[in-house]
């Protein structure tokens, strides 16, 4: 049985970060897989509580979850892929409905590499600063900044390519 300080520390860690880790996982896996990965990430955190850095506990948990997701996807022969916002759990973007912003982003994101999507996700959805995002990816902050800049540029270009098609669809409707 753990002593009280460890138990208290873990409760704080869990209560503070569980949702963020679950959201991280559910962007990259199915809901049931995300629950399993999140639970396993915190089990590891509990076992290695002394190794969880106080100042960047959340990036540490993301790294742990990311490794678990990589193992999961490796078993399933897939790579880690950040979900498209419109496709994820609400139907494909080209299902005949009006072309809205989510559809545009989904189509644009689909044109990007997994690495670009991951970099954009860490900034837009995980809301990490460059230093923490770099920790998650295992690269330097400078590299992350450059990757993010390029990913944004490619997303912008992909959106620009989508825009004429979207306007044409709206006209037809």
């Amino acid at each position: 049985m753990a002593d009280l300080s460890d138990a208290d520390r873990f409760r704080v860690l869990f209560d503070r970060h569980w949702e963020a880790v679950w959201r991280f996982a559910v962007r990259r896996a199915s809901p049931s897989q995300a629950e399993d990965v999140t639970a396993e990430a915190f089990e590891i955190a509990w076992r290695k509580l002394d190794e969880v850095p106080t100042e960047w506990a959340l990036p540490w948990l993301y790294v742990t979850a990311r490794n678990l997701l990589a193992n999961l996807h490796r078993r399933e022969r897939h790579t880690i892929a950040v979900a498209d916002p419109a496709v994820h759990h609400r139907g494909a973007p080209s299902d005949g409905g009006a072309v809205d912003e989510a559809d545009l982003f989904a189509r644009a994101l689909a044109r990007l590499s997994d690495r670009d999507r991951e970099v954009l996700s860490l900034a837009a959805w995980e809301q990490l600063c460059p230093a923490d995002a770099a920790r998650v990816l295992g690269c330097t902050a400078a590299t992350y900044r450059v990757r993010l800049h390029r990913a944004r540029r490619r997303l912008r270009a992909a959106l620009d390519r989508q825009a004429p098609a979207a306007r044409a669809t709206e006209v037809l409707e």
Binding site: F10, F14, W46, P53, H89, E101, A124, T143, R145, L148
Partner: protein, 334 residues
């Protein structure tokens, strides 16, 4: 669509489309996890539970080789003075902006643009740093000195040679013999991609380089650009072209000051430019030590200028420095 792309993307978070487990389920999970056994102590102690002061991690981007770990401050009230290295440049009155000097160095770098890029194994880095952890009860400081050299292989793997933990003057003397086969205290093999090079912006435009280093919408300040450049130079040799563009980017910041030609800790004549920042919590002067002939980064150091905080060091005090040495004829990997 708003001006900020990431803000637009943030509003389309796929996690918002999924119902999370209930609070009761989470509580059950949390308590279940806490009934599982865990080791009483980690086999490899980490600095968890303390806040490490940010400015003490100047060399954090380098692989930890470890050496000369000396606990200087143990418990409350039991302190002994820390002998810090001498200053490379005095801390004195304000200096002139470094823009002209940086442009001159950029011109010098461009004069070497036709030379082939250097492989990583032609670079040896020696570093010294005072690392301090501060908790509510005490502050623990240790000196970390190290030397490292890398060999990158065609298959993406890497070999790392770490130095014997010896005094800094010995480390520097060893590193100066960069063409000799190194005497490694530890040799580590790294898998593909583990020592991946930094993806530096490929551009001729200093403003574009700054924009790319921003990553996000907010442009970086002089400290962030200089820090990124030092991080790059610590990791890998920088091409003449990238050196020139980066120096011109730094020249756009008035905060960069010219400290003139000085002698570095290896006895080399270098051009020092620097700035003062309190981004790490204490006013610190950061110097970039540049090769006057090529503009390449030959070293860097950080000096506390006005306040030592919880550290038992005099003011001013150097809290970290590093030196880079480049081989003409690099030795084979150990």
């Amino acid at each position: 669509m708003s001006r900020h792309l990431l803000d637009d993307l943030a509003r389309l978070d796929p996690a918002d489309q999924v119902e999370p487990p209930t609070a009761a389920d989470r509580h059950t999970l949390r308590e279940r996890i806490m009934t599982s056994p865990r080791p009483r102590s980690s086999p490899e102690p980490q600095p968890a539970g303390r806040s490490r002061v940010p400015w003490a991690v100047a060399a954090a981007g380098l692989a930890v080789v470890a050496a000369l770990a000396v606990t200087v401050v143990g418990t409350t009230g039991e302190r002994s003075a820390i002998a810090t290295p001498g200053l490379t440049v005095p801390v004195d009155a304000d200096r002139q902006p470094a823009a002209d000097t940086l442009h001159d160095l950029a011109d010098a770098a461009e004069g070497h643009a036709d030379q082939p890029e250097l492989p990583a194994e032609q670079r040896v880095t020696v570093s010294w740093a005072l690392h301090t952890s501060v908790s509510e009860r005490d502050a623990d400081s240790e000196i970390v000195a190290r030397s490292r050299q890398w060999w990158l292989h065609d298959d993406g793997t890497a070999t790392e040679c770490a130095s014997q933990p010896v005094a800094m003057d010995v480390l520097i003397a060893q590193a100066q013999k960069v063409d000799d086969v190194p005497d490694c205290d530890r040799v580590a093999q790294h898998g593909p991609g583990e020592h991946a090079p930094i993806d530096w912006p490929a551009t001729d435009d200093p403003a574009e380089l700054i924009a790319q280093l921003a990553g996000n919408e907010e442009l970086p300040d002089h400290h962030e650009v200089a820090d990124a450049y030092l991080e790059l130079a610590a990791k890998q040799p920088v091409s003449a072209h990238d050196t020139a563009v980066t120096l011109r980017a730094l020249a756009t910041f008035d905060e960069l000051r010219d400290y003139g030609t000085v002698t570095d800790r290896a006895g080399r004549q270098v051009r020092a430019v620097g700035y003062t920042t309190d981004s790490g919590g204490l006013p610190t002067r950061r110097l970039l030590l540049l090769d006057p002939d090529t503009g390449q980064v030959l070293g860097a150091d950080q000096t506390l200028t006005r306040d030592a905080g919880n550290l038992d060091v005099p003011i001013p005090s150097v809290i970290s420095y590093r030196l880079h040495f480049t081989a003409n004829d690099p030795p084979p990997p150990p």
